[in-house]
């Protein structure tokens, strides 16, 4: 799909929403809607509680120009299960005629990695035909930057503060994309807003498959990560260039690594862009140890995906 054409498509959030400047979730919500429109699909969206939900709706206003439902925090996937099942039966009965309707969930990392994990897993196992999009900003940003299981090792959050006894998050993050893979979905991908053609292609593929699909998108958060909103794509790009956020897809169980930096940048390049890692900026033995552990974790994860991809080459 041509990005220039995509930019001219009249779809996406109506103006007036209250997402922050530089918010990754706003970019994601708009791109998904545009790709769907360009492909002739009509979307029905279920949104988990979170930034995207509260900032795009306050009664009596809405930024959604498509059918949209918010139920609760942890149940967006179960909610879309009901919508999709209704579609199946009502179509069979002839009460709904259209066959170009597609179902999409938008959930943050809190609503997907943590509290909504079971609901998502259940919906995947039941093989409902829908696309689950995670906008992963690596903490509970809507409630004021509390740690989630997507918060990376070493990061400051309001519930992993920097103190004399403990400094930031002390454990590695959960790998939700691999959990999705374990459900043997027809399509799973990890993507970035800084690699737009790759992201667009993945959304297209995910909307086309017959069954559940999943895309985990790193969603930069200037407010919670402490960087200038103008740098949002720069930060997003650095996540990929450091292998912190590998771009890959799993098509019917087959791993494909979509991008490998010519020269992987050291993780300090990622850390120094964001105030949430400020306590790691000073060169001390303690910080060197933490940074080495972060680097080891990232390299291990990347190499694991690379090995899996090489199995299918």
């Amino acid at each position: 799909m041509n990005l220039k054409e995509l930019a001219t498509i009249d779809a996406g959030l109506a103006p007036g929403h209250r997402l922050c400047p530089g918010c990754g979730a706003a970019i994601i919500a708009n791109i998904v809607q545009r790709v769907a429109r360009a492909k002739g699909y009509e979307l029905v969206v279920a949104n988990a509680t979170g930034c995207l939900e509260v900032a795009t709706t306050i009664y009596p206003y809405t930024s959604w120009r498509i059918p949209w439902i918010h139920n609760a925090f942890e149940n967006a996937a179960a909610t879309i299960s009901g919508v999709e099942s209704a579609y199946k039966v009502l179509k069979k009965k002839g009460r709904v005629k259209k066959d170009n309707i597609r179902f999409v969930v938008f959930g943050g990392d809190g609503g997907s990695y943590d509290i909504g994990l079971q609901s998502m897993s259940g919906a995947f196992e039941r093989r409902h035909k829908f696309l689950y999009i995670v906008y992963d900003n690596e903490a509970y940003m809507n409630t004021g930057i509390q740690r989630s299981s997507a918060t990376p090792l070493g990061a400051w959050t309001t519930t992993t503060p920097i103190g004399s006894a403990h400094r930031g998050k002390e454990v590695e993050r959960k790998d939700l994309t691999m959990i999705a893979v374990a459900h043997r979905l027809p399509y799973v991908a990890q993507a970035s807003i800084a690699f737009l053609p790759d992201l667009v292609r993945k959304i297209e593929k995910a909307l086309d498959v017959d069954g559940p699909s999943f895309i985990n998108i790193l969603s930069t958060c200037p407010r919670g990560w402490y960087f200038d909103p103008a740098d949002t794509l720069k930060v997003a790009r650095m996540a990929v260039e450091t292998n912190f956020w590998p771009l890959f897809e799993v098509v019917n169980g087959r791993f494909i690594l979509n991008y490998e930096p010519k020269e992987r940048k050291p993780i300090t390049e990622w850390i120094k862009l964001q105030g949430r890692y400020k306590h790691l900026w000073e060169d001390t033995p303690q910080n060197r140890e933490i940074i080495a552990r972060i680097q080891r974790d990232i390299d291990e994860r990347f190499n694991y995906i690379k090995r899996l991809a090489s199995l299918h080459e």
Partner: protein, 390 residues
């Protein structure tokens, strides 16, 4: 209408009613003692007797969540659960009426944990009594069956648009084989008719936003509208009870009096205990005591006018609650009955908690209540217990 008399358990009576309603979507999770409803319904699905999409969810939380999704997508939607399952879905149980979704749920009453117990009491129903669901109670399999059709019509009526819950006693009703009269599939389905919702998420040409953030400037008005719908439900459910009653030629009302006209000592209860109390009333009458019974079939909206007009001139009233409200001025039903009669000078209203965790309620206990209260002359809201070892 032609009917036949057959034998069914309460659970299978609910499943049969669901089959005849033939809902578009059922999302449910197995839990004792609700399980036979889901199992029987799954057989109907497996044998092509219904067109329903049955979503076998991974928890009750997801059951109610999926019900909200399907109902919002314009599908006629039903579910069933018990006790801890209801407790798990409670967050979403509150969301259904606030989105004005006419979901119908069979609740097979079971004690809430802890300690864990699988047998009957009404603690599950009372947990959600303020959630905004219309709540019907059923004495036996016949009432379970009938209540399902009345519930569905009431829920979907545009003057109401609220979810409705049909209660039946776990094991006592759900697993006991009883005879009941049932109609033919075609005629029963004709009674409920087709569902034509005004809004649907699948109407992509007329998109709407359901479940937006709703703060101090509108939330209160929306809750007020919900309260208004519940008031309408009081009138609307009576219309459908009357219609249904004429269809099946059986008297059906929001409350059911028994030997009440000249009664001085009146029991008030819900669900299967009403059957036991009818025998107790007869036994007391044989001894010359003017006893009577008022069975409550519609619990929310509470039919306080009926209670007031039927009980206002009685001498002594005893309300039996099968759920504990620790620290409150008596059980939930007791408080409702007592409030309905407040300001009237005559009745003494006493309350008992009985039958928790499936403890059997016997005629002997019913008679003992009369003995204990015969000489009572104060009207303090004192919580008494029956059938427990002190």
């Amino acid at each position: 209408m032609k009917q036949k008399r057959i034998g069914l358990t309460g659970a299978h009576a609910a499943a049969l009613a669901m089959k005849q309603i033939n809902p578009d979507v059922v999302a449910a999770y197995p839990i004792t003692p609700q399980t036979p409803i889901m199992e029987r319904f799954a057989e109907y699905v497996a044998n092509g007797k219904v067109d329903t999409e049955l979503i076998r969810v991974e928890s009750e939380h997801s059951a109610m969540s999926a019900c909200i999704g399907s109902s919002a997508a314009g599908a006629r939607t039903m579910t069933a659960t018990s006790a801890n399952g209801l407790a798990l879905m409670t967050e979403i149980v509150y969301i259904a009426p606030s989105y004005r979704l006419p979901i119908v749920m069979n609740l097979v009453n079971r004690a809430l944990s802890g300690p864990i117990n699988i047998h009957c009491d009404h603690s599950d129903a009372m947990l959600v009594r303020d959630s905004g669901w219309v709540m019907l109670f059923s004495e036996n399999a016949q009432e379970v069956y009938d209540n399902n059709f009345i519930a569905l019509r009431t829920a979907e009526d545009s003057r109401v648009l609220l979810p409705v819950m049909i209660n039946q006693d776990g094991f006592i009703t759900s697993h006991s084989l009883e005879t009941l009269e049932v109609g033919e599939d075609k005629e029963m389905h004709e009674f409920v008719g087709e569902y034509n919702p005004r809004y649907s998420l699948l109407d992509t040409d007329n998109p709407h936003t359901l479940g937006p953030l709703d703060l101090y400037d509108y939330y209160f008005e929306h809750k007020r509208q919900q309260a208004e719908a519940m008031m309408h439900a009081d009138r609307v459910i009576r219309e459908y009870m009357k219609q249904y009653s004429e269809l099946v030629n059986r008297p059906i009302d929001v409350v059911e009096p028994y030997r009440l006209d000249d009664a001085e000592f009146v029991y008030v209860a819900m669900n299967s205990t009403a059957g036991t109390l009818r025998v107790v009333v007869d036994m007391l009458r044989d001894k010359g005591v003017r006893a009577g019974l008022l069975k409550i079939r519609l619990y929310r909206p509470f039919p306080w006018r009926d209670v007031k007009s039927l009980l206002g001139d009685k001498h002594k009233i005893v309300v039996l609650d099968r759920a504990l409200s620790p620290g409150a001025t008596g059980g939930a039903l007791y408080q409702d009955v007592r409030s309905s009669l407040y300001g009237l000078s005559t009745p003494i209203v006493a309350g008992y908690v009985y039958g928790l965790g499936g403890r059997e309620f016997t005629e002997e206990q019913g008679l003992r209540i009369y003995e204990e209260l015969r000489d009572l002359d104060d009207n303090e809201p004192f919580q008494r217990f029956m059938g427990v070892r002190e």
